[in-house]
Amino acid sequence: MIKISSFEPALFNRNADQGNIRVLTKQLEWRGVSYSLVQPFDKDADFVLIGDAYNAVIREYQQELMELVPSLQRRLDLGLPTLLVGSVYEFYLEILVGLPAASKGSRQSEFREVSNGEISAFGYRNSELIELDLFVRGAFMGTTLYGPVLAKSPDLLDLVLRSLGVENKLPEVVEKRLEGYLFEVKKASNAG
């Protein structure tokens, strides 16, 4: 059974990033794959999410976030399925070895489609970071993109599912519906 865990989901949810958990679990349900949502946070779960958080939460949880560094560093080194979003991604940029160094400019709030050459992602970003919207190593991902990003970025979702060993396909009717909606979502956005 696939274990999924999210760090303090009620607090690390500034831009509804816990929707990524809904997306992943629904995708597994639709594909007939069993899973369990593990709480309290299990740093060794098969998939780990640390969502974007309010400034106050980042300050309050600084120590806990620092205590996660060894396990996150291990996940990054091994490319294990992990998703860091927004302010948390930004927090770890200066800390985890292998993540790019933070470079900041004026805040840009907009829809973006970004790519690292092989994998593209789509979502809304509201960040001062320059050119660091997507980091991928193996299935370890960091992004400025909200959305939730897994709902709008089939490449990232496929990467997670593959790395979790999921081979079952989506029912065709569901796949077509989601693809259709996503196509129109991109068209309606500035990036469309």
Binding site: N13, L178, Y181, A188
Partner: protein
């Protein structure tokens, strides 16, 4: 004034219900002091209402109570609460010299625009409703909203705060404030405010919501107990009324009975939760502006309304927050509409809600909605979708 009034007249000829932002922008360019001069012509000065939610209701109630007490009140209509909207309101109601006929001015202020404007306005009283995680694409984080409200508070002669909201309670250490909120023994839904780990000392509340039942509430103040009718059910509405009563008690002498009578006759606030007759059918209209109001409105419907239309308009710049809404009580949505309809449809799909049709154009969506049969036609829409739909259906005011 003449140029602005002309622009407003022409725009309204072209588009019914439209014509607020552009004339206001023109007036702002030509006469930047138009607003402050208009306010200065009101002898009792200015009351401002700001915060993440509840601004419209609180403003409307303050205005109606003051009017019932015999005062001439100038206010900004509906959601024209940004700088251009405020200027447009002066154009609409001011004379050709920019003077307004009013004893007092009561303005609903957008948090961001209000903070930028406040040093020019110098209110006699600021009413601050709450800090919620709202419009994050604009404000990024609630603590920036808190900072903006603090600027409003520090620029005002007197301040009324929601003393249950720790984000506002911190103001008590920086200046004298008056508090409203829920009574100690209040049983019922407690609103959730933006997270704040500080534990500011509580203050004595001068106006307290003691209990609510449906659309009735008992609110106690130093003056006595008010048994009032709410614009719609919910603790948040009772808090809005408490804020308004607190503001009115600080402004004039008004009897408890007159407050109660006035609230009894108050119509629902513009489309917050309103029943209108369209093509001979009663349609329920509910405005959703953030996850909190969306979730609250969903709590206030049965979930099996037919036909049901949800609309996410162009005012939602970043639709991410739609994923923070719990749609699980819905089984089917007949029409999903608005510019962000497909984002909403995507979220609904992940909640396994059946969708009848997705129609981005609000007018087309409204037309289709009216062709559907059903006993409980209901529309939940964001502000932009609301304006477009109302205009199309001839409901614009």
């Amino acid at each position: 004034m003449v140029l602005g009034k002309t622009a407003r007249f022409l725009l309204r000829r072209i588009r019914r219900g439209g014509g607020s932002a552009l004339p206001g922008t023109i007036a702002l360019k030509i006469q930047p002091k138009l607003l402050t001069r208009a306010i200065a012509s009101a002898p009792m000065g200015l009351i401002v209402v700001s915060g993440s939610a509840g601004k419209s209701t609180t403003t409307k109630v303050i205005v109606e109570l003051l009017r019932a007490n015999g005062l001439e009140v100038f206010t900004n209509p509906s959601t024209a609460n940004i700088r251009q909207g405020l200027y447009a309101a002066v154009l609409q109601f001011g004379n050709l010299r920019g003077k307004i006929k009013a004893d007092i001015v009561v303005l609903e202020l957008d948090e961001g625009h209000g903070a930028a404007l406040i040093s020019e306005l110098r209110p006699r009283l600021a009413v601050l409703t709450n800090v919620l995680p709202d419009q994050l694409d604009r404000f990024v984080d609630p603590e920036y909203v808190q900072q903006k409200l603090e600027r409003i508070a520090l620029a005002s002669d007197q301040v009324i705060i929601n003393a249950d909201d720790p984000n506002l309670l911190t103001l008590a250490s920086k200046r004298e404030v008056t508090g409203f909120g829920l009574g100690r023994g209040f049983e019922g839904e407690h609103p959730e405010y933006a997270i704040n780990f500080q534990k500011p000392d509580s203050i004595q509340k001068t106006t307290e919501v003691l209990r609510t039942e449906g659309i009735s509430a008992e609110i106690a103040s130093t003056k006595g107990s008010y048994f009032v009718k709410l614009p719609s059910a919910g603790t948040h509405q009772a808090l809005n009324i408490a804020a308004a009563i607190c503001a009115v008690e600080k402004t004039c002498d008004m009897s408890v009975e007159l407050v109660e009578d006035t609230l009894e006759k108050l119509p629902p606030v513009f489309a917050r939760d309103e029943k209108v007759t369209i093509a001979g059918r009663e349609v329920r209209l509910m405005l959703v502006q953030n996850p909190t109001s969306f979730n609250l409105n969903l709590e206030n419907i049965a979930g099996d309304e037919v036909p049901l239309m949800l609309m996410a308009g162009s005012d939602i710049h970043d639709p991410s927050w739609l994923w923070g809404v719990d749609f699980s009580k819905l089984k089917r949505v007949d029409i999903v509409g608005g510019l962000n309809a497909y984002d909403l449809a995507l979220v609904l799909s992940y909640h396994e809600v059946e969708i009848g049709e997705v129609i981005q154009n609000p007018a087309d969506a409204a037309d289709k909605f009216l062709t559907l049969s059903g006993e409980s036609p209901t529309i939940l829409f964001s502000a932009d979708a609301m304006r477009r739909t109302r205009r199309h259906l001839g409901l614009a005011k």
